[in-house]
C-alpha cells in the first residue's frame, strides 16, 4: 500500500527529506518504522517515539490504510 510519511527534527536530518511517498507491505506503523529505520539508519528506537496517523496520535499497532499520512514523533522540545 502507499503511505505518505513526514519527517521532523533529527529524523528529517537523517532521512535527508521532509516527506516521502512509500509503497510498503507494512500494515501498521510498527512495521513501517522498522522498514524505514533500516532504510534511513534512524537511531531512535520505537520506545522513544510516538506515532501520528492522519494528524492524530495513534497506537503503533493501528491498521494503516491506503494513502494514510504517518508521522513518527521524536521526543519533543518546545517551550
Amino acid at each position: 500500500m502507499n503511505y505518505r510519511v513526514l519527517y521532523f527534527a533529527s529524523l528529517r536530518d537523517r532521512a535527508g527529506m521532509d516527506a516521502e511517498q512509500i509503497n510498503s507491505l507494512a500494515t501498521d506503523a510498527r512495521g513501517l518504522y522498522h522498514e524505514l529505520r533500516a532504510r534511513h539508519g534512524f537511531t531512535l528506537g520505537e520506545e522513544r517515539l510516538r506515532v501520528a496517523i492522519n494528524g492524530a496520535f495513534a497506537p503503533w499497532g493501528q491498521t494503516l490504510h491506503e494513502g494514510d499520512e504517518v508521522v513518527f514523533i521524536p521526543p519533543v522540545s518546545g517551550g
Binding site: P74, S77, G79
Partner: protein
Amino acid sequence: MPKFELSEREIDAQALARGLAHARAGACATFEGWVRDHNEGRAVLRLDYQAYAPLAQSEGERIVEEAREKFAIVEARCVHRAGTLAIGDLAVWVGVSAAHRGAAFEACRYIIDEVKKRVPIWKNEHYADGESGWLHPDNTPVEPGQR
C-alpha cells in the same frame, strides 16, 4: 479565536494579556519563555523551532481545554513561536485569567508543562562552536499507555 497558536511572527504579549480581561477575573498569571544564550554548558547563538503544525495545533488546544476543566479559570491562551529565533526572543507565551490567583498560577503552570511534554515542536540549537543539534531531551521511553 484559537486558544493555542503557532506563530511565525513576533508574539505581542501585551495584546494577548489584554485579551484575557473579563469582569469576573480578579487575577492574571502569565508565563514567558525566552531564548537564552546557553544550554547544558554550551553557548547558544540562536535556535530554530520546527513543528508538525496540524497536530501541534490540536494538541495545544486540547491542553488549554484540559486546563479549563481542571482549574476555575476564566480565560486561557498560549502562543508558541515557529521559525528562527535570536537570544532574548519570546519563544512561548501562556496567559490565564481567573477569579482568584491560585487557579491562575496553577493553570498557567499546567499549560506550559504539558506543552513542553506533548506538543510536537522541536528545538534546534545553534552553538558558538559551529555545531547544532535537535533536542530530544527525554531519555526515558514515552509512557507505555500512549504507545
